[in-house]
């Protein structure tokens, strides 16, 4: 852990995949990393979608015959709400509040950077205000 990471909010690296990646591969990635969501990015690392374990279950198990040929683009949710590094704390909290999640994807000019957690964000804000 570096000095930077102690005094700032950590943007954790996020699990990513490409739009043409097979769902089986994606499921394996999720299983290996014990994660519940994977972000879909294009060749320029631009965030284009999100796949949750629920999406995988609902969209692949219902159509087992086609599931082995399915790609990330077939199961992903296209409209991903993310906060850009140039946007404020409030925006990040708004997104998490709206989606009722405890993490929020962070982008830098649409490029995927990682995810921030609600607890770390709130903790940082209050800790820094007390200084």
């Amino acid at each position: 852990m570096t000095e930077d990471s102690i005094i700032k909010i950590t943007i954790h690296k996020a699990l990513t995949c490409n739009a043409d990646e097979n769902v089986k591969e994606i499921a394996k990635k999720l299983k290996d990393s014990k994660d519940r969501r994977i972000f879909v990015v294009d060749k320029q690392d631009k965030l284009i979608g999100i796949i949750t374990t629920t999406d995988l279950v609902y969209k692949t198990l219902c159509d087992r015959e086609k599931s082995s040929e399915m790609k990330a683009s077939d199961v992903m949710v296209n409209e991903v709400k993310a906060v850009d590094l140039s946007e404020d704390f409030e925006k990040a909290l708004e997104i998490m509040n709206e989606l009722k999640t405890f993490t929020c994807p962070v982008t830098d000019k649409e490029k995927m950077v990682g995810v921030i957690s609600y607890h770390e964000l709130v903790n940082y804000i209050f800790t820094s205000l007390q200084k």
Binding site: K13, V83, D84, E87, S128
Partner: protein, 210 residues
Amino acid sequence: MSLEKLLAKVKTDFLPASKNRIRDYVQKYELEGYFNEDVPEDYKTRFREGLDRITNEVTDNYSTELRSFLRTPIGKGSMALAVANDLSAYATTVPFHQVSILGLYLFAAKTINEVPAVLRYARKSKDWYGALGHMLLKPVRYLLPVLGPALESGAFERMVKRRVRKEIARKFVERYGNYEPLENRLKERLKEPLGEHVYVEKREEELVGV
């Protein structure tokens, strides 16, 4: 100025110099924004500790000007004699300027005694104008019947106390800045760009060689 504040000011000015009394006055009237009911208790505690420290610092710095074992009795004695003389002059119809020679001696002794303290005060506070004004007003006050000598008694200490209060408040604001309620600071912080406060976790491949 409210009557309450005026009375508190007169009280701190005329009663003997006490750190607690000076601190309480500054806390209540000069720095009320830091100690009102809207300020959270933990902040108030921090501010109170800071104010205690600053009060000690400043009053210690002016301790020889605020009180003196020699200056105070001479001053009080000379002024009490002058007031008594004036009152007796009124009662016995003798002109009030017929002060006894003892009174004059005491007044001279008080003034001479005060000179080094006034110089020390002026050097410490840089309030040369105030120090000069005090010395120039001295004979005027002494020649005023009854009220003059009464006002002259402890005039120097009152001037030092005023400076002490001012200095405590100034140092406090310098050290603690303008207090802003947590709610306002939170609103401002929430408007700050995320990019200025984040650390991007390195990917494993980026950590190779670190």
